[in-house]
Amino acid sequence: MDMIDHKSLNEASEAVFQLLKDSIGINTFFIAKNDGITVDILSVENRNKILLEKGFQIDFQDSY
């Protein structure tokens, strides 16, 4: 995996999650990076329950 620093993305995701949270009544919003091999959770927003945490990584095959 390349070591690109997603500084702007991390900052922008906060605003994006806020907008989604205000509009859609589900618990968790996240941005996943997917290079075809692994899926990396770059940023997460959980409303009430912690369903997912940042840094979580799974095999592409086992993910949605």
Partner: protein, 206 residues
């Protein structure tokens, strides 16, 4: 998840794609929405997703919002990408003769860029088996205080057997260095490139 349209699964236990997956069973069902994020070059970067451990009926507006925000993120990711490329291009070491190279620094030196340049110089200088590296400062437009940490490079390079020489120090940089009480007695400065070259034993004849 493939395609450019968002994937919408109101109930993971009902949907053809997900009802038999281990992750659904482990999760106990729920709902999922995912809009693909593409890079400008058309490659897929990832997904903007939403999920819950309960089923949820996403309406047209929800799906549209996900799609629009995913498109917007493309530009943000592109910005990060471009910045990384600029960082990489920002410290070109130019080999001159066996063991001697020049590094012209241009533009604004922020703390982040200063850090990057330091790491890069040590790595490259070692790889190129340099004895002398001439760092020219005349193209620098603005510096943060942290720039002067660059001068600490000199010590690190000394350990690697490389002598760092600075040229093109400008009056305003000099004033700033003195004001900040920088210790400069271990650093070699030269008025211009020619003097630095002659110090390392290279004579230019025209």
């Amino acid at each position: 998840m493939g395609g450019r349209e968002p994937l919408v699964i109101p109930d993971l236990n009902e949907h053809e794609l997900t009802k038999d997956m281990d992750v659904t069973k482990a999760f106990g069902g729920g709902s999922l929405i995912g809009a693909p994020i593409y890079l400008k070059n058309g490659k897929k970067f990832g997904t903007l997703c939403g999920m819950d451990n309960n089923p949820y009926n996403f309406n047209e507006k929800d799906i549209k919002l996900f799609k629009s925000l995913a498109t917007l993120l493309t530009y943000v990711i592109d910005l990060d990408d471009s910045y990384q490329q600029i960082l990489k291009l920002s410290a070109p070491i130019v080999p001159l003769l066996q063991g001697v190279a020049i590094l012209p620094l241009i533009g604004e030196i922020s703390e982040e860029r200063g850090d990057y340049i330091s790491t890069m110089i040590i790595k490259e200088a070692h790889k190129l088996q340099l004895n002398h590296l001439i760092i020219d400062l005349s193209g620098i437009t603005n510096v943060e205080r942290e720039f002067f940490y660059l001068l600490n490079l000199v010590d690190a390079m000394k350990l690697l057997g490389i002598e760092a020489l600075f040229t093109g120090m400008r009056p305003d940089l000099a004033r700033k260095a003195i004001k900040d009480n920088q210790r400069l007695d271990h650093v070699s400065f030269f008025g211009n490139l020619q003097q630095a070259l002659s110090h390392v034993g290279i004579k230019l004849t025209v």
